[in-house]
Assembly symmetry: C2
Homo-oligomer: 148 residues x 2
């Protein structure tokens, strides 16, 4: 009997839910939700980025990112070196407060990642990531048929 569907889509669904839950809860004291956490993480790691670059990193809709940035800016986590009223092509820059939050997030994420692969050897983990990459690309290809 066909077991692949279960051992794939169901596991992926569980993983997605767990990741979102972790991102939502770890920084709940700050009022951050999953997309805020992603924004701060990437800005902390990569330095200045534009909104579009941040969308790519986070794999989130630009509307979601736009609204997350409003929240983060209003609450003093970042500023924008805007040449104009909007954020077009402008770099988003973490404030000190933003960097502190970013560091906290990066540390937590690092811990989680350590725990995630408990039970796999280094080699197995490497192989796993390789497989994950291949499968992601295959699926992206398949689903892109529906883009017009």
């Amino acid at each position: 009997m066909e077991e692949r569907f279960e051992t794939f889509t169901v596991l992926i669904a569980k993983i997605s839910r767990s990741i979102r839950k972790i991102k939502n809860q770890e920084m709940a004291d700050y009022g951050f939700k999953s997309p805020h956490v992603s924004c701060l993480y990437y800005l902390y790691r990569e330095g200045e980025l534009t909104a579009t670059e941040l969308c790519e990193r986070c794999e989130e809709d630009k509307a979601t990112i736009s609204r997350s940035l409003n929240y983060l800016e209003e609450n003093g986590y970042l500023v924008c070196d805007c040449k104009n009223t909007k954020r077009y092509k402008s770099n988003l820059i973490l404030t000190e407060k933003g960097k502190e939050a970013g560091k906290k997030i990066a540390d937590k994420i690092s811990n989680v990642l350590d725990e995630v692969s408990v039970g796999l050897s280094d080699e197995e983990r490497t192989e796993f990531y390789r497989g994950l990459k291949i499968i992601t690309d295959n699926l992206t290809n398949i689903s892109s048929k529906y883009d017009k």
Copy 2:
């Protein structure tokens, strides 16, 4: 530099999105969305199930499933051998129309699953699924800290 976050959460996000897109689009002619597809798939494969069992299979919220079942019932894809006005503990049964749709879905899913692991040997695929299972369990553990 820490690459694990990218090679994990981002890939998982992409996979989730692709899966949902495929499920949404493959049966769009029928007006099915992702949860409808999951319901029909499992009912087709496993025969009669209760709503709760279906929630477990689909990894969906019971509210989502409840509403999906309304749609499927209203449109003649399934009936419920209800002993009462609600669906409590009752078996959900596909009609002929439902079975046809279920078969179509099962075939499509089978095709997709063939394509998903192109580039991996049988052995690599088996190893990959094993790793996926371990990681899922680890993450479920980590995130369950937040359940009270």
